[in-house]
Symmetry: C2
Subunit: 393 residues, 2 copies
C-alpha cells in the first residue's frame, strides 16, 4: 500500500494529508507563525502527531519521542502506510522501557517531512501549489521550536523526558539547549552535537542522486505528475550502507549469492547484498517524498550546536539542570562514540548530571531501532531513576 | 581537454583509440583469443600500455604496475586526457623507489577499461557498434591473463615484480596465484583477497546511479549520442567518500563553509566538502566511460581468491615461492588492515616469504596514491632487497 505512489495534484495532496488515518493534527494559523532560523517564518503550518498513554493530572509525565531522518509519528502504533509495527514498538508500550502505563508519550512528525506535518509536499496557500523548494530550508532548531508550540498547545509546561536517536537525538540535544527548563531528562541516542564532514558528504551524494533524476523536475515533480523514484532509491541505497556496520554486513550477507551455485556474469543482482539494497531503495520511494529527503538531510547537515554558542560546545549547556543519559553503539560509524563523548565532556564541564552508555554491538547505527536488551535496559534504568527523582511513582 | 566528451560513433571510437597520444598498443588477433572466466572468449582484443626504463639483456628486471579502478597506463608519464602527472609518479621514475634507471616498468590499461585497451566502448567487429553490455563480464583473472599475454609478447618469462594498489593489488595477488613461477616479488597494496560485502554494496550504489540515468539508455548511450554524466558523477561522488577517512575529511574540510560567513539556507553547496565532491564528480565524467565503470566495479566484486580454491585462502598460495610485501594503511576502511592480514596468514601457512607493513596515516584508502614517505620507503626497501636476491645489482 502506498499513499504517495500516484501522481499527486494539489487536490490529492490535501486529500492525502486529511487521509493520514490515525494521526492527530495540530494546526497553527496565521496568528501563530513559526519563526525560522533562516530568518523567514512558516505560516500557517501543522504538525501531525500520535500520543500513547495518559497525561497525568499535573501534566508531569510527558515524554516527547523524536524520530530520525525517515521516521514518523508512528513510534508505537502500526504505520498506516507500510502496515509495519511502530518503529520503536520494542521500546514504547505498556510495561516496556518507555512505559505507557506510566508515561504520556507524544510523537510528532517533524516539519519538513511528509507524513502529515507541513513539508515541501504541502500546499503553499499563496500559490495553491505544493511548496517544493519554495518551502524555507529548515533546521533542527526549527523542528524543535514547532514541537515546543505543540506541547504549549497540549498545556504541558515541562516534559519529563525527551528521547530520540540519530536525527531524533539531535532534536533531543536541541531541546535541552533551547528549552533547558522544559526538559527534566534527556536521552540523546546514537547522535552528536554536529554533523561530521563525512556525514555531510554522504547526504550530499543522496541529494545529488535525487536532483540528477530528470523526473525531479527542479523540485516540481508533484505538479508534473512524475516522481524521482530512481534518484531517491539510489540516495536511500547509499544512506542505507552507512546505517549498517562492516561486521553486520559480513555476518548477514557476506559474499552470499542470490543463486547459490554461481555468479551470473551480468549486471543483475548476483550477491544477496545487492538484492537487499535494491529492495531497500524500491520500498523507500513508496513511502517517502523526495523533496522531504532533501530538506531533512539539509537540516541534519546544518546542525552544529557549538557554532551557535561561539564555537564552544560547553557554553551551550551552561547551567544545565536536565539529567542526561547518552547512548552510543560501538560499531556505529555514522555517529561514532566519540561524538557522544564530546557532548558528555561539554556537560561535565558544566557539572551537569550525565550518564553515558556505549553498547557493544556489531549492528551499526541502526542498532538504536533494534531490540537490543542492553540498550532497552539502559533506557529503562535511566527513566526509572529519573521518574523517581521527579516524584513520578 | 576531453577525449570522450563528444558523441562517439563507430568511426570516432576507432579514431579515439588510434588517438591515444603516447600509448603503445598490443593487438591480439583471432588466432590469440583471450579465454575468459565466464566461459566465453574475447577476440580480437588489444592492450594499451606504457613502458619506462630499459629491459636488461636477460629480461630479468621487468616490473609490472597494475592500476586501480579508475587508473590507467600513465603511471609515470603525464596523462594525455587530464594533463596531470602520472598517477604514481611519486613512486616511479629515475632514482625513485621503482627506479627506472634499474628497472623496466610495464604499465597497461586493464581490459574492460576505457583508456585504449578493449572495453565496453570498443567496437564489436561483429556488429560495427560499441560493445556496450555485449562485452562479456570480465574478472580480475581475465585482466591478468591478458597481461600475461602482453609479457609473452614482450618476451619476458618472469617478472621481477608486480606492484599495485586497490584493484591493482587484486591483480598482483591474482598474478601470484595464477602464475606463481612468473612473479619473483609481489607488492599488493591497500587490497584484499576478496571484495567485502560493504564494498560490493557501495559499488552497487554506483552502478545503480549510472543505470538510473535515462541517458545511459540501457548501455547504448554511445550509439544515441548521449552520456549518463549525472549518474556517473553521483557514482563517483559516493565512491570518493569511501577513498578518504573520516579524520582526513575532518582535517581537510571539517564543517568549513564555501562562503565563510553564513549558511545559504538553500540547496547550493554550502560546505566545502560539497563543492569538493561535486567537482570530483564533474571532472570524472570527462575522463571515464560509464559502462567501463560498471565492468570494472563488477570485476572487483567478483574477486574472491579463496572461493576458487575450495574456500581456503591458504590453498591458493600452496608452494608459493614469490617474495611478498603487503602494505596497508591504518585509516583505510575500504580495505582495512585485517584484509591484508588475512593474506599474510594464508602465506604464513605456506611458509612463504612475506613481510607486512601497516602505515600509520589518517589519509584513508587513497594514501597509496600519495607521496607518503613511510610508504615509499617501504616499497624502496622491499624492492632493493628483492633485487639483491634476484641478482639485479
Amino acid at each position: 500500500m502506498s499513499i504517495i505512489a500516484d501522481p499527486v495534484t494539489e487536490e490529492t495532496l490535501s486529500a492525502r494529508e486529511a487521509r493520514q488515518p490515525s494521526s492527530k493534527v495540530a494546526f497553527f494559523g496565521e496568528d501563530e507563525p513559526l519563526r525560522l532560523d533562516g530568518g523567514r517564518t512558516l505560516s500557517p503550518f501543522h504538525i501531525a502527531y500520535e500520543t500513547y498513554g495518559e497525561l497525568n493530572a499535573d501534566k508531569s509525565n510527558a515524554i516527547y519521542v523524536c524520530h530520525a531522518l525517515t521516521g514518523d509519528q508512528y513510534a508505537a502504533s502500526p504505520n498506516p502506510v507500510t502496515g509495519k509495527p511502530g518503529w520503536w514498538s520494542s521500546l514504547i508500550g505498556p510495561g516496556k522501557p518507555v512505559d505507557t502505563d506510566r508515561f504520556f508519550v507524544v510523537s510528532s512528525n517533524v516539519i519538513g517531512s511528509c507524513m502529515g506535518s507541513t513539508g515541501p509536499a504541502s500546499v503553499d496557500l499563496r500559490t495553491g501549489l505544493p511548496y517544493a523548494l519554495d518551502l524555507p530550508v529548515l533546521t533542527i532548531g526549527d523542528m524543535v521550536r514547532a514541537q515546543a508550540m505543540l506541547i504549549d498547545r497540549l498545556g504541558i509546561d515541562q516534559l519529563f523526558a525527551v528521547i530520540g536517536g540519530s536525527m531524533g537525538g539531535m532534536q533531543v540535544l536541541q531541546w535541552t539547549v533551547a528549552y533547558p527548563e522544559r526538559v527534566f531528562a534527556a536521552l540523546p541516542i546514537a547522535t552528536g552535537a554536529r554533523h561530521s564532514s563525512q556525514n555531510i558528504a554522504f547526504h550530499e551524494v543522496g541529494r545529488q542522486a535525487v536532483m540528477a533524476d530528470p523526473d525531479w523536475r527542479g523540485g516540481h515533480y508533484l505538479q508534473h505528475g512524475t516522481r524521482p523514484h530512481k534518484g531517491l532509491a539510489v540516495a536511500r541505497m547509499a544512506a542505507h550502507v552507512t546505517y549498517l556496520s562492516q561486521a553486520a554486513l559480513h555476518r548477514k550477507f557476506g559474499r552470499n549469492l542470490q543463486d547459490r551455485d554461481r555468479l551470473g556474469f551480468g549486471f543483475e543482482a548476483d550477491f544477496q547484498i545487492e538484492s537487499y539494497l535494491r529492495h531497500q531503495g524500491m520500498t523507500f520511494v513508496d513511502r517517502f517524498d523526495a523533496n522531504a529527503y532533501l530538506y531533512l538531510t539539509r537540516a541534519m547537515d546544518y546542525f552544529d550546536i557549538a557554532a551557535e554558542h561561539g564555537g564552544r560546545l560547553a557554553d551551550a549547556f551552561r547551567g544545565a539542570r536536565t539529567r542526561f543519559c547518552l547512548v552510543s553503539f560501538s560499531s556505529d560509524w555514522l555517529f561514532p562514540t566519540q561524538e557522544s563523548r564530546a557532548v558528555v565532556h561539554a556537560l561535565n564541564a558544566n557539572a551537569a548530571s550525565v550518564s553515558f552508555v556505549e553498547i557493544a554491538t556489531d549492528k551499526g547505527h541502526d542498532a538504536f531501532l533494534l531490540d537490543e536488551p542492553e540498550f532497552t535496559g539502559a533506557v529503562q534504568g535511566f527513566l526509572s531513576s529519573a521518574a523517581k527523582a521527579r516524584g513520578l511513582l
